[in-house]
């Protein structure tokens, strides 16, 4: 429980850092290439987490959720890749995406030691926490900071999709206890 908590705080800190990260524009906010990289990284992390769940979990509902995460986040990331290509933007690695990746690796290592119901609970709890943090970062930082209209629109659609995932994960957490 403490582990989960410290991880949530770490993740929140990493995403809050998006505000201060980078060479930045006037407001000190992340630039579009940085935002694109952060959003893509956040999606890729959830796909990796889902693939781990598909390897370890035997619970039909957890596996169905993980399948949904792979499919939806891949769809969003495919859109994001197509958009940055169209806009001729090169996604730019930054401290926020690096921190996110590092956090996710630690979480995966932690979950890899679990199995059965303990894994399912840890995975679903982390999905709730992760989507909360990512949704909050999109809402408060990434969407308001994005300057390109198409990028902003894609992030807004992404937020709606990820809010759906949060509700799904919360439902799963409440029914599997």
């Amino acid at each position: 429980m403490l582990h989960t908590h410290s991880n949530i705080l770490g993740l929140a800190a990493a995403l809050a850092f998006a505000c201060a990260a980078g060479p930045a524009n006037a407001g000190g906010n992340p630039t579009d290439p940085q935002i694109a990289h952060i959003a893509y990284t956040a999606g890729a992390i959830d796909i990796e987490a889902a693939k781990q769940a598909l390897k370890i979990s035997k619970d039909a509902n957890v596996r169905a959720f993980a399948d949904d995460m792979v499919r939806d986040h891949q769809a969003v990331n495919d859109k994001a890749l197509a958009l940055v290509k169209k806009l001729n933007v090169t996604p730019e690695d930054n401290d926020t995406s690096k921190a996110l990746t590092k956090q996710a690796e630690a979480k995966r290592a932690e979950l890899s030691k679990l199995s059965g119901a303990a894994f399912d609970k840890a995975y679903v709890d982390n999905e709730v926490a992760y989507h909360k943090t990512v949704d909050n970062a999109l809402e408060t930082t990434l969407i308001p900071s994005s300057s390109n209209g198409e990028l902003k629109a894609l992030l807004q659609t992404g937020l709606k999709i990820f809010e759906g995932h949060l509700q799904h994960a919360e439902h799963l957490a409440s029914t599997s206890k």
Partner: protein, 106 residues
């Protein structure tokens, strides 16, 4: 030998098709994770057709478990309303997406 198995199946299909076109087809669009209209009234025997304009897949899943319709990205899917009553439904992938269908007898 093949015909004997084939014919009853074809007959059943014809009956099913006949039933499906008996009522009206009522469209519901899905755009940006919203069913619209979110609430409709149809007659028993009418068919609801959802069209998914989003780039992610959705479902229309009756809360009472009566039906569960997969609506892939960019595709349409149909479900006939067999009996009178009010049905609430949601998307299994994005449970915040909800809709309501009032089915009234013809």
């Amino acid at each position: 030998m093949r015909m004997r198995w084939c014919c009853p199946a074809f007959g059943a299909l014809a009956i099913f098709a006949g039933a499906a076109i008996a009522g009206a087809v009522v469209p519901i669009a899905i755009t940006d994770l919203v069913f619209s209209p979110a609430e409709i009234t149809v007659k028993v025997g009418d068919t609801v057709e959802w069209t998914n304009n989003d780039f992610v897949d959705h479902t229309a899943t009756a809360t009472d478990g009566e039906w569960d319709v997969a609506i892939p990205s960019g595709k349409s899917a149909m479900q006939q309303m067999a009996k009178a009553g009010t049905i609430t439904y949601f998307c299994r992938v994005h449970p915040g997406m909800t809709g309501k269908i009032h089915v009234v007898s013809g």
